[in-house]
């Protein structure tokens, strides 16, 4: 089998999720006795291609065009379709990034194929690859397989594989081959403009050692002061899952998850957070995770070190009091 990994650059730097997917590909290749190729796409990407060639891959494909300087879904789809048709991989793997979500399903469909997105793992069973992904917001896992003939398309969630396990090339460098693609300005219908961040955030949650995070379980904005009092007693910062910030109950800068901040504090106290994957990717690196939730089946408990099944409105004030007592003693 031939595996092709589509790597991703973000504003002129690697998106590190690329290396996790490359590590996944190396592992699948070992199980299935396959060869891995890695692809880098953009304008002037020679240095990136050379860096990829130092990894244990059979070949690096360098796809360059002036019109690929800025990412557009049209440009990437037109170019990558040509590469896939000529390179004929069986399995095309992507990191599950916002950019990949934006074009990869369409790329697969242009070739009449489907994509299994956002996978957290795989198994190789009886000569068949089984991809594991979450459904129902992480409440269940699902085994998904491809039907029909290759090429197959799949993406791996960030954190699903470890980039530090990526193997280097045994003899130094893999060959780098440029693949010419034909692309014209008419192909590209959308026009990317300025990149920007919203008003500079007053708080840097990535530096906070102690975080108290609230989710839907907080129910109403009137209840937030209770969580804030707990955060104060702990000496930590208050944060939230996406729905709370969508509602405007806390500012967006306090949002943890794939669309917000990624944090790795000493302590992460999750109050009424179910643990949907979009949230978990932003906090699973925390050293100690405490989850308090009324639903004993909430997926947050899968990653919690300490769990309390109960009513946060009873536990928050009790915990605030216990923390204050511990401080004064």
């Amino acid at each position: 089998m031939k595996i092709l990994v589509i790597t991703e650059l973000r504003q002129g730097k690697w998106n590190n999720a690329s290396f996790e997917t490359l590590a996944a590909a190396q592992q699948i290749a070992k199980d299935t006795l396959s060869a891995v190729s890695a692809l880098v796409i953009g304008k002037d990407v020679a240095a990136f291609a050379d860096e990829l060639a130092g990894k244990n891959v059979a070949e690096v494909l360098r796809v360059e065009h002036d019109l690929l300087e800025a990412y557009t879904p049209d440009g990437f789809c037109v170019a990558l379709k040509q590469v896939i048709e000529s390179a004929k991989p069986d399995l095309v793997l992507f990191p599950h990034t916002y950019q990949v979500r934006d074009f990869a399903p369409k790329l697969a469909a242009m070739l009449g194929k489907g994509m299994i997105g956002d996978c957290i793992g795989y198994r190789y069973e009886g000569g068949k690859l089984v991809f594991v992904r979450q459904m129902f917001q992480g409440k269940t896992a699902a085994d998904v397989t491809f039907s029909g003939v290759a090429p197959w398309f799949a993406s791996f969630q960030s954190g699903a594989f470890r980039a530090d396990l990526l193997a280097a090339h045994p003899s130094g460098q893999a060959p780098v081959n440029s693949v010419a693609v034909s692309l014209s300005a008419e192909h590209i219908r959308t026009k990317p403009l300025d990149l920007f961040k919203e008003a500079k955030s007053a708080v840097d949650l990535t530096q906070a050692p102690l975080i108290v995070a609230i989710g839907r379980g907080i129910k109403a904005p009137e209840n937030i002061p209770q969580a804030e009092a707990l955060a104060k007693a702990l000496g930590g910062e208050i944060a939230a899952s996406r729905p709370i910030c969508d509602e405007g109950w806390l500012p967006m800068e306090r949002q943890i998850g794939s669309s917000g901040q990624t944090v790795a504090p000493k302590l992460y106290l999750a109050l009424g957070i179910s643990g949907a994957i979009q949230h978990v990717v932003g906090m699973k690196g925390a050293r100690t995770i405490v989850a308090i939730n009324k639903d004993s089946n909430a997926p947050i408990f899968e990653i919690a070190d300490y769990g309390v099944v109960g009513d946060i409105f009873e536990i928050m004030p009790a915990l605030t009091e216990a923390l204050e007592k511990a401080k004064s003693s």
Partner: protein, 254 residues
């Protein structure tokens, strides 16, 4: 400006899920409008209020899905299209997108909106696939839409707190990010008005869609735990005291 909003009906957020083979047991649970899609619907209604035209709510699935279409009509959509399919949950993303695309092709839409992803399958592919199948430009994870002169200026969310402005011609397909707006509730007047609104029926057969599945859900199951969780029990006060001790002397994080 004529807008089609793709809306999925999913199990209610607090519905207890019972796994049955490669899906869940659907009897005895409530269903509701997929929350990300409610933001897409709201955005469509706001664009219509500003620029005129019509909002069509398009949904696929078994008979019960009509209830969600009615909810969209009550909120202000002008008419609905129901692609009836009892096996919708087992369709792969490309299969459902093909059926939706066929229904969309019969209309004269300037804009097709979807939510970011569904709270059940969570494939998050429909909008992008529709763009491919309908050969329309698209953009995803949209946080703001400004329409001027057959063109849109969009604000797209990127990762790690970054955003990007972009231009996109019409017609187009957009996937809307949750939180782009504040979703309205249906008014009593809206609910009454919805009773007179039309819901057109279609099937994959009547739309002439043929599709070989590209993937299959083999089974679903409760995920295996990767971490050992110590559960603390007792009264709130006891739990709080235990937790503070654990954090102080065992985890040593406070």
């Amino acid at each position: 400006m004529n807008i089609i909003v793709c809306i999925k009906q999913v199990p209610a957020k607090d519905a207890p899920l019972t796994i049955a083979g490669n899906w869940i047991k659907e009897s005895d649970i409530g269903f509701e409008m997929n929350e990300p899609d409610s933001y897409a619907l709201e955005e469509a209604l706001r664009l219509k209020e500003k620029h005129g035209g019509e909002v069509i709510a398009l949904s696929m699935g078994p008979e019960r899905v009509k209830q969600t279409i009615k909810e969209a009509l009550a909120k202000g959509a002008d008419r609905g299209i129901h692609v009836a399919d009892d096996n919708f949950a087992q369709l792969d993303p490309l299969g459902s997108a093909k059926a939706l695309a066929a229904a969309i092709r019969k209309e004269k839409a300037d804009l097709v909106l979807t939510g970011l992803q569904s709270d059940d399958h969570g494939f998050g592919q429909t909008g992008v696939l529709l763009a491919g199948l309908l050969d329309l430009p698209h953009a995803t994870i949209i946080m703001a839409i400004e329409v001027t002169d057959r063109k849109m200026k969009l604000k797209r969310e990127l990762e790690a707190g970054w955003f990007q402005h972009m231009e996109c011609p019409l017609p187009a397909v957009l996937s809307i990010q949750s939180g782009i707006n504040k979703v309205r509730y249906a008014t009593l007047k809206g609910i009454m008005a919805a009773k007179k609104k039309e819901i057109a029926a279609a099937t994959r057969e009547s739309l002439g869609v043929s599709h070989e599945p590209t993937q299959k859900i083999e089974k679903i199951y409760v995920p295996t735990k990767t971490k050992k969780t110590e559960f603390l029990t007792g009264t709130p006060k006891e739990v709080a005291t235990k937790l503070v001790e654990k954090l102080k002397f065992e985890a040593r994080v406070i």
